[in-house]
Every structure is written in C-alpha cells, then in structure tokens.
Symmetry: C2
Subunit: 160 residues, 2 copies
C-alpha cells in the first residue's frame, strides 16, 4: 500500500468511497441526500491537497490537508480522512493520518486541528488519540446521528 | 440604532469597516494583506445571512449567521460580528449578538458556535461570556498575533 498525491483521475474513485459514507450520515457532517458536488466541495475543494492510499491500482482511502484558518491562524492545518468500507480494519486511516502528520510538518504547519469528530465514532476518536491528538473541545449535542440522536462532537488537536 | 438585513448596497460600508480590522490582524483570521474579495468571502459569502446595525443612515457594525456544519451538524449556527472602530464602546457588538441569538432561535438553530475567538481579544471573550457563551475548547497557540506572537484561540458555544 502506498500513499501518493491524488490526481483529477482519482476523483470518481473517491466519490465511490465517500458516497455511501455520506448516505449513512453517521460520521461526516454532510447532507445524507447530498450529491457529488457536495462531497467534492467537502473533501476535494481547491484549497485542499488530497492524497490517496493505493494498493495494486485500487484506491483504499484518501486524505485532505488544508490550512484551517487564514492569516494569523494559517500555521494550523486541518485534515480529513476516509476509508473504503471494503478496506476497513486494515490500518488505512492510521497510515493516512501518519502520512499527513509528516506532510504537515514538512509544510511548516505547527499543529493539526480536527474541527468536528463525532463522539459516537469511537474507533476514530481512539485512533486519533493514539496518533497524538487530544480532545481540546466538546461541542454539546452538535451532531444529529441518524440512530442515536443528538450526540457531542469533539475538536481534536495535535501540536507538531 | 436599528438592526436590519443587509442589502447589496451595504457591502462598500462593510468593507470600509472590515478593511482596517483585517490590516490590523489582531482579531480576525484573515491575511493582513488580503483584498476586498478575501474579506467578502469571509464575512459575506453566499451561505451567510448578513445584518447591519444602522443609526441615522450610518452603518456602525454588522453580523453574519450561517449553519456551522452541513447534514447532522446543521442545527448549530455560526455567527461573526464587526464594529466600526469609530463606534466602539457603544454596545454595537452586544446588540448584534443579542439580535443573532434571537434570529438563530427563530430559525430553529439549537446552538451557536464561535469557531475561533482569539484569546487576547479579551473584551470580546468577556462580552460573549456575558451573553451566555462558554469557552468549550482551547486551541493552543493557534493564532499568531502581530504584537504578542502565538496566543491561544477559543471555541465558544451557547445552547439555544
């Protein structure tokens, strides 16, 4: 499995991964009935740099990196990740996150912030914690989970 | 002083207020050398609803309201405020914030989140606290203040 910069030709594969995640509505703050443009604006808009995790020509997951704020806040990055449902449990998200930690450090960022980690997505919360991220904020009942109803969301942060 | 929805004709007045705030670089996460389009994208982009505080035909300040997230996060609003330097100390920000609390409640939002309140902007932090907002997260050294260097930024939240 290798991680490389995404190209325009990768988008249909990224869309195939993100569409069921968006329809499920349990982890990303995206409308469940959103379309391809909605997903692309969220994950692959112009200000984001995308990477893909690929094995034998198959894309297993993807990441984005961007500056979280402009101006005086531009030294802190924001990243996002998605894994193909078929490839879950294989360490794809871990590898993508470790890659973006290195990449952000190389780019001169001084920290990475996750703005909205749904608290009920416990595997993700625990993974980010193992990778050095801390919960620095709790947004009370900020996510409406399709099965669980209103749950907290976390702001997570890691210095670089 | 009255608060009313902004119109297209108001933008030049809003730009006159925000430009010196952007150049100062002490409170908004905007590039100090940004242009009018930068400021407009930040404060008055299409997904934001703007209001202005006006007295005798003079615009003293402005606010924006938007959903902070999409999908499962769309019940939480995000708001921003600016006051004309000439009108500071007259309660403009307080009036605009009180107005947006009412407006967001009317629109069915269940909370308001401020994503990035620079900790050294103490008058603002204290004002938001008096209006019912709590610091729910601290982003360590997330803002590079032109005089003070790296300072924390806060995530603030108020349920509705």
């Amino acid at each position: 499995m290798k991680i490389r910069p995404a190209t325009e030709a990768d988008w249909p594969h990224l869309w195939a991964i993100i569409e069921p995640i968006m329809r499920e509505g349990e982890t990303f703050a995206l409308p469940r009935d959103g379309n391809e443009a909605t997903a692309r604006a969220y994950f692959a808009s112009a200000e984001k740099t995308n990477f893909v995790a690929e094995e034998d020509g198959i894309i297993l997951g993807a990441s984005y990196v961007r500056a979280n704020q402009q101006g005086g806040g531009s030294h802190i990055a924001n990243c996002g990740y998605m894994t193909s449902p078929a490839a879950r449990g294989r360490g794809i998200a871990r590898a993508l996150c470790a890659h973006s930690i290195d990449y952000c450090r190389q780019q001169g960022f001084k920290g990475i912030q996750f703005n909205f980690v749904v608290s009920s997505n416990e595997p993700a919360v625990h993974l980010w914690q193992r990778l050095g991220f801390e919960i620095v904020g709790t947004l009370p009942k900020a996510f409406n989970h399709p099965q669980r109803g209103l749950v907290d969301s976390y702001v997570m942060f890691r210095s670089l």
